[in-house]
């Protein structure tokens, strides 16, 4: 039976933890709002880019452009995107589990797999398991800048054009809603010409005066499209991470409250037991004196 003092100390400790998790939840909520905001802001850019790309790539032979050309798959690069920081529930575990599954499947097909990681958690995970990684990026989270997406994109594109890799897959957490994240997998390269849908209507390339030339513009737009996809993934992942952290911290706060309740009950019981014991002592002493 722990002493009264021990229980009291314990209650205070748990309460303090609760304060910290509550503060973290609040911080995550603020960051989430910011991340969602940046996601919204880049949408018009991405949408417009898509519609131009659809229009332009219609008239182009796939084989003529190095980023559109489909080669027989021999080496596949898998980019795993996690967070830099922990304490966000199953956020990273989900991604890593999905990544391992994908990697195993590709390997079972007899393909060579190069693993690249974005985020400290992915790097550490593969390092601990002594799995070799090809490229490693960390510290991209926080304030996400477009230039980090450009950096990643240029290396990925270089790997593809130099035929070191024949396909590039990106695995990241997609932001569905504040309470739901979903592991998403996109093929970055070779570029699949985007399909037309209701949101983005194709731009009819024939109606336009194009300068310098269709091919020239495509040359600049295709790498840009990859940058945009990576940038979007970074933003989505960030928002999803903060959402996951918010939920995790909310649960943690709830748990501390339950624990405090349980400990208080235990404390009161112990206190009562102590009082009863004392009373019995006094009564016993008085009885002894009487005799």
């Amino acid at each position: 039976m722990p002493s009264l003092r021990d229980i009291k100390k314990r209650i205070q400790a748990v309460k303090n933890t609760g304060k910290i998790t509550k503060a973290m939840k609040m911080v995550a909520a603020a960051k989430l709002r910011k991340a969602q905001d940046s996601m919204m802001k880049m949408r018009p850019y991405a949408d417009k880019m898509r519609s131009v790309l659809i229009g332009l790539s219609e008239g182009v032979e796939r084989e003529t452009h190095p980023l559109l050309a489909v080669r027989p798959r021999k080496t596949v690069e898998v980019i795993v995107m996690t967070s830099d920081k922990g304490l966000c529930g199953a956020f990273n575990a989900n991604i890593l589990r999905a990544a391992i599954k994908v990697i195993d499947r590709l390997k079972s097909e007899g393909l060579e797999v190069n693993i690249s990681t974005i985020g400290r958690k992915a790097r550490d995970y593969f390092k601990r398991r002594s799995i070799q990684t090809a490229r490693v990026w960390t510290g991209l989270s926080g304030k996400i800048v477009y230039s980090s997406a450009q950096e990643v994109a240029s290396e990925v594109i270089e790997g593809y054009t130099s035929e070191t890799t024949d396909e590039v897959i990106l695995i990241y957490n997609e932001f569905r809603s504040v309470i739901a994240q979903k592991v998403a997998q996109v093929k970055l390269l070779p570029i699949e010409p985007p399909e037309e849908d209701e949101d983005t209507k194709a731009l009819a390339a024939g109606d336009y005066l194009i300068e310098p030339s269709e091919a020239e513009i495509l040359n600049r737009l295709l790498p840009k499209n990859i940058e945009i996809q990576i940038f979007r993934a970074l933003l989505e992942s960030q928002a999803a991470e903060e959402a996951a952290r918010m939920t995790a911290m909310e649960n943690a706060t709830k748990n501390t409250k339950e624990m405090v309740e349980r400990l208080t009950l235990q404390y009161n019981k112990a206190r009562q037991a102590a009082i009863t014991a004392e009373l019995m002592d006094i009564v016993g002493g008085a009885e002894a004196l009487k005799q």
Binding site: S38, K41, M42, P44, Y45, K48, M49, V52, Y146, L203, D207, Y208, L209, I210, E211, P212, E216, I217, R220, L221, I228, F231
Partner: protein, 136 residues
């Protein structure tokens, strides 16, 4: 002349500008071009440079960091890596960037040189844009 052009400048960080204007002049990769209401549909890539637009008799300047422009139905849509209105440019920062770039260019490293060169170009044009706006 009642017709106006809708000018939109968007970057990955959000919309920089969305206004009804009278005239747009921008630097395409094949040379400068002007847009007045009723321009033919037109797509071009842009280089790092200045975009001017006129509105109610005043001229405004915007720094545009490469991208491309689409003109159609009196709409000018500019997609740029980054863009800043002349009054939003941080001249101090641009000057610092210019110095850094110049120093880097002195070291003879081919890969670095190209990057420093574009950084220098960006910085110089930023300064130009902001100075031009102030001289009016």
């Amino acid at each position: 002349m009642e017709e106006k052009i809708k000018l939109d400048i968007v970057t990955p960080y959000g919309s920089v500008l969305s206004e009804e204007v009278d005239e747009v002049v921008a630097g395409g990769s094949e040379g400068e071009f002007g847009v007045l209401p009723g321009h033919v549909p037109f797509i071009t890539t842009l280089k790092i440079g200045m975009l001017d637009y006129k509105k109610d008799g005043r001229t405004f300047h915007v720094f545009v960091n490469s991208g491309y422009a689409e003109v159609s139905d009196n709409n000018v849509m500019v997609l740029a890596d980054s863009a800043e209105r002349s009054e939003d440019i941080d001249v101090e920062r641009a000057r610092e960037a210019m110095q850094r770039a110049e120093e880097r260019m002195k070291k003879e490293d081919d890969l670095d040189f190209v990057r420093a060169e574009t950084a220098l170009e960006r910085a110089i044009i930023r300064i130009q844009v902001s100075e031009k706006a102030r001289s009016i």
